[in-house]
Each structure stands twice: as C-alpha cells, then as structure tokens.
C-alpha cells in the first residue's frame, strides 16, 4: 500500500515486518504489529468516546512507547493530537488546553495529579481518559470521572477514517511574544513531504537505528517518529534525564549502536565540552543531524575530528514550515574556528527566499528577511487568523505564486549560492535549542509578586547553551531582592528552560530617548557582570 496519511506508515510496516522492533525505550520493546494493533484498540476507544475527525486530543503522556501508541491512535481516529510537555507548569498547560479546546486529555499514572489539577478547577469540557500501563492503577486514585480507561489491549483493525492528507495531524505550541503560546497546525502532507524527501536523501533502510531525543512537543521529534516508521527502522527513545550527564548520552549512542543521531546542537556542544566522545567512537553511526539553532563551529570541529566515518548535516527550519526546510552537509571538517556554517539549500519541494522590505531580493550578498515557501508550510496558527496573517503571506507575488512564511530570521545568499543566517529581527531567541519569545517571559514577570518593573534580555554565550537569559528587576518598594524566590515564582508560569539564569537589581530601569527600556544599556551591564575580568 502507499501511505496517504501518517498512520499508514505503521499499518504498512505491520504488514511487511510485523515482528520487527519499532520502538525501544529502556527495557521496553514494541514491534510494528503491537504498535499497529494497540493503536487500533485505543482508536476504537477514542471513537466510542465521541472523538471525530478534526477533534483535538491532548496528550499528557511522557515520552514512551505508550505515548507513540496514543499518537497513532489519535491519527487513526482522524483526530488532531496536541502533545503537552509534562514538565511545563500548570498555568502554561492551561493556556494550551484552553486554546486547543481538546475533547479529551489522555494521561497516565505519572501525570495523573497534573491532569487532575488541569481539569478539576476549571469549567472545561475536556474529559480525561486514563491510559493504563501494565501496572498503573490510575482511575481509582482520581476524583475525575474518566471518559474511559484503557488497559493496553490489541485490535486487528482500526475504525474507519475519511482523513485526507491536508487534514491537520498535530498542533505544536511554541512561545508567543504576548504570553499566549501559538498552536502551529501541521498537516499529514506537511510531515510526509519532508519525511519522503529525507528518507530518500539520507538513504534510510530498515536496518537503521534512529535516536528519539527531542521531547514530543518539539517538532524535531516528528521526524524521528515518522522517518523511522516510513523506513521500517527502529526508534530509540532517549529519556530527558539523559541530557544532564553528557557521558550517559554517549553511552546511549554507543550501547544502542545507533545509526542516526538527531538533536539540538547545545547537547552536542555540551558533550564536546566534557570531551565524552572518543576517537572513532560510535562505529555504527552513519549520520549526525542537528537543527534548532547554530552549532558553534569549534564544537562541530571536535565532533568531525573524532568521527570521520560520519556524515554531518545541518538542518534548518522553524516549526511553522515543518521539521526542516533547508539542509547543508558539511563536506569536510572546518579548519577555522570562526568559519560560518550555512543553512544550505532548500529540501525537496521547499524554497528559501531572502527579500528586503519591498519583497525584492537585496543586492548580491546583501542581508534581508528570510522567507520560506513550499510543501512544509503550515496552514497557520490554530484559531488565530490575526497572528497567521502577520507572518504567512498569501500569494505576495500575484495569483498562483503560493504562500510564503516570514521566519523573522535575517539571511543572505553567499557567492556559493548557499544561504547564511545573520541573527533575528525580533526578540525571539534560542536557548539550548528551545525557541523562546522574550516577551512571553516579560508578560509572566508583570504578574509575579515582588516585582515593580522588569525587563529581559539575552546574551549570546560562548558556551554550549546558546543565549543566556538575563532579567533586570526593580523590586517592589521595601521588598528584598531575592532572585531565587523570584525564579521559583516564575517557574509556576513558565517552563524551566525559559527561566532567567542571571538577575540584577536596579533602582529603576534605564530608558532610551523614546522612553522605552534601553536594552542596549542593560545588555552591557549584564555583560560586565558576567565577564568581570573584561571590564
């Protein structure tokens, strides 16, 4: 069969290689047949609970084979799944549940209390459904009346589904500068276009052992999942805790004999910093891919020197254009530590455009705004035509010219015809691969007690973490300045990766001529406090 929808990849592999392993997670293994039949069974339960094509189903399930079963089950019901970050604070998940108006929230024992908090104190129509792992009695300990409780069971077939490739498959919520996360709609066709290009470009085979490193609410994870299933390969899920100790990540790649590693560069730099990669390490590894932010060249050199047998590819693309829109295979180990690494050329079916304010190409080599067009373009933000219109331009070059997305990144086209990035036009930053709008942090600070005024800036670090988030605070009159208390209060509203790591107290915030907070002054003050030896 040809795959028309994302779940068809699983159905096809269950026919071709039913007993081959699809997913590995710690000691847990799931075959393609199990994945197919378990997701059939859960799909029937979703359908019985009233889930129809286009309904949203939120997943509060930590990364695991069960989480992937839930994802495939949602798709088989024609539903749109909304993966939630189980480590995110309740307030932020609240906004996402609200915005997605999910019919169901799927949860497991370990996320039961969070599910309870999310659903009990609001007048929401979302109902919980418990997914029972092998030994997890959840419903008995909860006060919520579940829509259903699903013990892991199998079914030979799935309910009928009239889904089409242009249907939305998932909503991925990204940071929003107004404090409200934006739900990016991604269709089956969006993901499949990239996956089909990638498995042929990278020559995937069923023998591949693919890493599943990013969290499921991160769009890179969709490449790991669907790329693996399209090829009939094996997906190795890495737990988030693995990240803390770099040598454990190396052991994970080595021990599982992975053939592909795909992650944000900050983790690769972190591993380089602690020198955990041995010369000619990971003999089975064929490809190392990164996406999400710039990979500092010195760390890339570190990796390329140690692993001459591996192909190194930089992928680039925001969530709004699905996984990645351009690629650049680094042909040889760079010799200079400051050599810029381009984002390369468009992936199949995509286009990269560097344009000025009049949507004209700047003079040769000039810097302009980077726009993306083609098969990866999301239909827009969920229930948000205004924010969609602001960045998705409809046929700007006349009828039939197609839509383009304004990335907010600045770029140029080099003499080598490759595209190079030159920072951002706005205050969106990347920290450890996470895309963060500084505005979202400032909005959260406004309602944090103990703070009269606050401003947030980011400083590019030379370390592995990308941008370092710094917060300038004017405390409430008579209040002590206790960053650890403020940070803890802020953690009730923001995920940990958005929390500022440096704090300075101000009597008042410096203003520029327009009466706005002077971020240039703040930046230099933080820079001095972080680099006392320089000043």
């Amino acid at each position: 069969m040809t795959a028309k929808l994302l779940q068809d990849y699983v159905v096809r592999q269950a026919q071709l290689r039913p007993d081959e392993i699809a997913i590995v997670s710690g000691d847990e293994r799931l075959t393609y047949s199990q994945l197919d039949r378990q997701s059939n069974s859960l799909a029937w339960r979703l359908r019985a609970a009233g889930c129809q094509r286009g309904d949203r189903v939120a997943l509060l399930v930590p990364k695991s084979p069960l989480a992937i079963v839930s994802i495939i089950a949602c798709l088989k019901t024609g539903c749109i799944y909304v993966p939630l970050d189980v480590d995110s604070p309740r307030d932020r998940l609240d906004l996402i549940l609200e915005s997605s108006s999910s019919r169901l929230l799927l949860a497991v024992a370990s996320s039961a209390s969070l599910a309870e908090k999310l659903l009990t104190e609001t007048a929401r129509t979302t109902r919980v459904a418990w997914l029972k792992g092998e030994s997890e009695p959840t419903s008995s300990t909860s006060s919520l009346t579940p829509a259903f409780s699903w013990p892991v069971t199998e079914a030979a077939t799935a309910p009928s589904n009239a889904g089409r490739p242009e249907d939305v498959a998932h909503l991925l919520f990204t940071s929003g500068s107004t404090g409200r996360p934006k739900g990016v709609m991604i269709t089956h066709a969006n993901v499949m276009s990239f996956v089909e290009w990638a498995i042929s470009h990278f020559n995937y085979t069923p023998e591949d052992r693919i890493s599943g490193h990013p969290p499921l609410h991160f769009d890179l994870s969709t490449f790991d999942i669907y790329g693996t299933f399209a090829a009939g390969a094996q997906l190795y899920l890495a737990s988030a805790k693995l990240n803390v100790l770099p040598h454990k990540v190396a052991e994970f790649i080595r021990g599982n004999e992975l053939t592909q590693w795909f992650s944000v560069p900050s983790l690769l730099s972190y591993m380089a910093k602690f020198d955990v990669v041995r010369p000619h390490d990971f003999p089975k590894l064929k490809r190392l891919l990164w996406c999400g932010e710039r990979f500092p060249t010195p760390a890339l050199i570190y990796w390329m020197k140690r692993l001459p047998h591996v192909e190194f590819t930089n992928l680039y693309g925001p969530t709004e254009t699905t996984i990645a829109s351009s690629f650049y295979r680094v042909p040889e180990c760079p010799t200079a530590e400051d050599a810029p690494i381009p984002i390369g050329i468009p992936c199949g079916g995509e286009s990269l455009l560097v344009l000025d304010e009049r949507l004209q190409p700047p003079s040769a080599g000039g810097v302009g705004d980077l726009y993306i067009g083609g098969v990866g373009l999301s239909p827009g933000y969920w229930n948000d035509p205004e924010r969609t219109r602001a960045v998705f331009l409809d046929e700007p070059f006349g009828p039939g010219s197609g839509r383009i997305y304004k990335t907010g990144d600045l770029a140029s086209v080099g003499k080598d015809d490759l595209v190079y990035l030159h920072g951002r036009r706005d205050s969106q930053i990347k920290s450890r691969g996470y895309r963060i709008e500084l505005g979202e942090i400032e909005v959260a600070l406004q309602t944090t007690s103990g703070i009269r005024e606050a401003a947030v800036i980011a400083i590019e670090s030379s370390g592995f973490e990308g941008a370092v988030i710094c917060c300038a605070v004017v405390p409430e009159r008579g209040m002590a300045f206790e960053p650890q208390v403020l940070r803890s209060r802020l953690s009730q509203r923001l995920p940990h990766y958005m929390l500022p790591s440096h704090w300075l107290r101000f009597e008042s915030l410096p203003l520029n001529g327009n009466g706005k907070v002077d971020k240039t002054v703040l930046r230099s003050q933080f820079y001095e406090s972080l680099h006392p030896e320089v000043s």
Binding site: K241, V244, Q484, L486, R487, S488, Y497, S501, W503
Partner: protein, 82 residues
C-alpha cells in the same frame, strides 16, 4: 562552620538562584537541575571544596538531591575543608 549540606544549599540559592525546599527534594523530578545548572554546580563545587570531579565516573543518582550531592562531596574526603 556550616555543614556540607548548608554550603551546597547556598550554592543553589545564591549562585544558581534555585529555591530547593529541602535537602531531600528530587532535583530532576522538580526540574531544578538541568544541564546548564549542572555545569555551574560542578564549577562551584570544585571552587568551594577544591577538588576535581571526573564526569565520566558520575552517576545521575549522585545528583538527585542536595543530600546525595553532599555525600558525594564527603566521600571524596574534602567535605570538611573550607
């Protein structure tokens, strides 16, 4: 003289700006310790207690709580130095 636990608590609150309710709190479950925090923590442990930790021999469980970090420091025989 402050105890090893107190000194590690001070690193968390004064340098990492992270409020840890008790020395037994699970730092990973609560998201209080991530890769960025670990680097700063290691740096400060090395500065304050004057020893080198070999990351290749470290295990996650040794960093699970302030209490377990304290026993790691004490087992390296330098916990009482200041």
């Amino acid at each position: 003289m402050s105890t090893c636990v107190e000194r590690i608590q001070a690193i968390f609150s004064q340098i990492l700006y992270r409020e840890v309710e008790s020395p037994q709190v699970d730092l990973f479950e609560t998201g209080l310790l991530d890769s960025m925090g670990l680097i700063e923590l290691l740096f400060n442990l090395e500065q304050q207690f004057g020893f080198q930790l070999d990351i290749a021999h470290l295990d996650l469980d040794q960093f699970r709580s302030i209490e377990s970090i304290a026993s790691l420091v004490e087992s390296s025989g330098v916990g009482q130095a200041s």
